[in-house]
């Protein structure tokens, strides 16, 4: 019995084997063959070996390609032909979703809207901006340090202790004292994490998330800014909303920069993140050696060197460095309960990586 049973089992397994073999034979004909990838190899040693080989191969190819490209450019220069077209890498920004809200330069309504908006009196230099800076109820360590640096960045800014006042009361007070905007720095876990900019008397309220704050002392080779009025650079605020936010930021700074101070404050928008940087620049004339003398040895170079002057701009970073992201733009002054929003970020808007709002 036992033997017979075994045999049966064997027979069964044989049958199974046959059927599975048949399947394996028939299946590859049906499917399109998968291109070989090293990740398909099971053995790790073998896999890493093959992977390294493939990687090396790719590297060589890349180098050869770039060399060929350079050679083509060189040849074109020698022959005086037109240079071959430079390839532009495809990025998320330049493949951004088509947005109808992008401002057009010939839009009459845009300019009329600009003239009518809340910031026009400051931007037309009828008023000088005067800014009140305050904090949330509790703040410590990095908060005050950040505020002291903000005070150096924004001219005509005044720090007021928050105390236990309501923000609405502070807005009222600032209105009476002819402030043009209120900036509130919010701190969470001893780290500034939000910035609230309120336009006065009836301007909009922007709520920004603040991240990646680096204070001046943590920046290597930082400079100490002078008290000159800074120049302002606003980059990439393209849409209607971005335009409005840009104008709002612009209204924090006086509109008559002192170029003598060589101070620049930059707000650079990239993928809806607004990067803040504060620099001092200098133009220097620098001697540069000629290309022919470069290849030869030093002794020959000295004899043949022809001094050539070139003006170079150098930057020195000073002041804080941080990133802002717009959370909401409220119509009117701060009102958390009965506020009306011009724009709120909602999670349902994040369905594409290539959609930007600023």
């Amino acid at each position: 019995m036992a033997i017979g049973g075994k045999r049966k089992r064997n027979n069964d397994s044989d049958g199974e084997d046959d059927s599975s073999r048949r399947r394996t034979r028939t299946e590859p004909e049906k499917e399109v063959k998968e291109p070989f990838r090293p990740s398909m190899i099971k053995n790790k040693e073998k896999r890493s070996e093959v992977h390294a080989k493939v990687k090396h191969q790719k590297k060589l190819e890349k180098r050869a390609k770039s060399k060929a490209r350079e050679a083509a450019v060189q040849r074109a220069i020698e022959l005086g032909e037109e240079l071959p077209e430079k390839k532009v890498p495809r990025t998320i920004e330049n493949t951004r979703e088509v947005d109808e809200t992008v401002c057009k330069p010939d839009d009459e309504e845009l300019f009329a809207g600009n003239d009518a908006d809340e910031f026009s009196s400051i931007l037309n230099r009828q008023h000088n901006p005067k800014i009140l800076i305050t904090t949330c109820r509790f703040n410590s360590t990095r908060g005050p340090a950040f505020i002291s640096e903000l005070l150096t960045v924004i001219p005509n800014a005044h720090y007021f202790k928050r105390g236990t006042y309501d923000l609405k009361k502070i807005v009222e007070y600032a209105n009476k004292q002819d402030f043009t905007s209120v900036v509130v720095v919010h701190t969470n876990r001893r780290e500034p994490n939000a910035l609230l900019v309120i336009g006065l008397p009836n301007g909009p309220t922007a709520h920004f998330k603040l991240t990646n704050l680096v204070l001046r002392k943590d920046i290597k080779n930082h400079g100490v800014p002078t008290s000159h009025q800074p120049e302002l650079v606003l980059n990439n605020f393209t849409t209607r909303l971005g335009h409005r936010v840009g104008r709002m930021i612009q209204s924090l700074f006086p509109q008559n920069p002192e170029f003598k101070g060589r101070r620049v404050v930059t707000f650079h928008n990239q993928r809806d993140f607004i990067f803040f940087r504060h620099h001092r620049y200098i133009f220097e004339t620098k001697e540069i050696k000629k290309i022919e003398s470069k290849g030869k040895k030093d002794e020959d170079g000295k004899s043949e060197k022809v001094p050539d002057h070139k003006i170079i701009a150098r930057l020195q970073e000073c002041g804080p460095r941080f990133t802002l992201k717009l959370v909401s733009l409220q119509h009117g002054t701060f009102d958390s309960k009965g506020g009306e929003y011009e724009w709120v970020h909602k999670p349902e808007m994040d369905t594409s990586r290539r959609r930007f709002f600023l």
């Binding site: 003239d115 009518a116 209607r240 309960k337 009965g338 009306e340 709120v344």
Partner: protein
Amino acid sequence: MPRTTTLECPGCPPLRALTFDTLGLIKVVESREKQGGPKVVERWGDPDASKSVNAVSIIDRKSNPLVAVARKNGQIEILSPVTGISQATISNANDLDVQSEENSIIGLHLFAKQNLELDSRDYNLLTCTSKGNASIRSIEVPESATGSSSTNSSKTWNVCNSGNILCCKVDGNEKFALFGGKGVEVNIWDLDNCTKIWNAKSPAKNSLGIFTPTWFTSVSYLSKDDHRKFVAGTNNHQVRLYDISAQRRPVLSIDFRETPIKALAEDIDGNTIYLGNGSGDMASVDIRTGKMLGSFTGKCSGSIRSIVRHPDLPVVASCGLDGYLRLWDTNSRQLLSSVFLKQHVLHVLFDSNFIVEDTPKGADSLPSKEETIEEISDEEETIEEISDEEETIEEISDEEEIEAIPLKRKKSSRNKENVIVGSEKKKRVKESDKRKKTKGNDGNKKTTSKDKGSKLASKKKKKSSI
């Protein structure tokens, strides 16, 4: 590859809407079958911030329709919604009450019914300022478009002693008017005698003993014939149903999200209302039960200022501070199409007597529209109905073509939504994500390749086992 996805809008039936924005511009948005989506056809007026539109009212009829527009500088303009030619302007400066920034006109109603039999060109106009000065005046609209009109103010009265009026509405029979605002309980006035007939009572303190100050932001009558039932939206994100015949306190009140209710509109059936709030959420509510039927999701990010239901077609229009005019289907609550209008759009109106002619040049034949209507009004109506039916059929078929595969999933999830009302928004978003993923080619490829990989792996296993 960059996915340049556009909003999949099924397109909307032929209609014509007027929008009014902060720069005082009136933009005409028309949608025709041939053009595809709705477009801005005409723009009336020059951009001027002092002409910002505060209130609008329309007489929507076939012959000689009129639109009244109250502007920020105290001017009231009466113009034709077909041609945009101004027929009369009243500057409030010659009026007795002092016109200032704080006391601007917020309520406006142009009476349609009173002068039908008179055949005169006199129109009655109800205005209400934010300080509560209401007045009915009659205006003579001259035959020629130019020339200022003479006004003889007939009745003025004060709606409230303190507080600010924020909303004002006249019922379908044009006999009663509703007023409400910040610090002003909703009250109803008889327009014939200028007497207050009803005043609401503020709801009781809540369980914590906290009294919320009255602040009405929008009101709307439930049906055209009945002046006794109306809904009011408050700044405290509440929608209240009042019934004059029942009690002075609200019969029903519903909370909606976190930001103030900014716009209310009633459906034709008299029990559905549409509401929009300060952060751009829009929903429809069955007011008999107080249950939310569903919300309108379409990436609307700015406060909704005005919602209008089309008198005939199943279309709702909403506009607001994000500068978009959005057209929604009332039944499916899907976005039909959206038009970017650049400024903060404050009001929207439908011109329901808009009929698309089959002539190739539609824009040129616009002024002659009235004549054609008068000639073959009856026939046109039937044609319109038929065309509507056809359209709906087309729409349905289109949708089926597009979304043939995920239809089942959609249905099942919709059933779920009905059970759990609160979390439906998130689910919808997820759904849309899913759909997009399934639609996107690369997603498909990936999944298939993975499958293949797993198959291969399984094969290898089998081989090794052999």
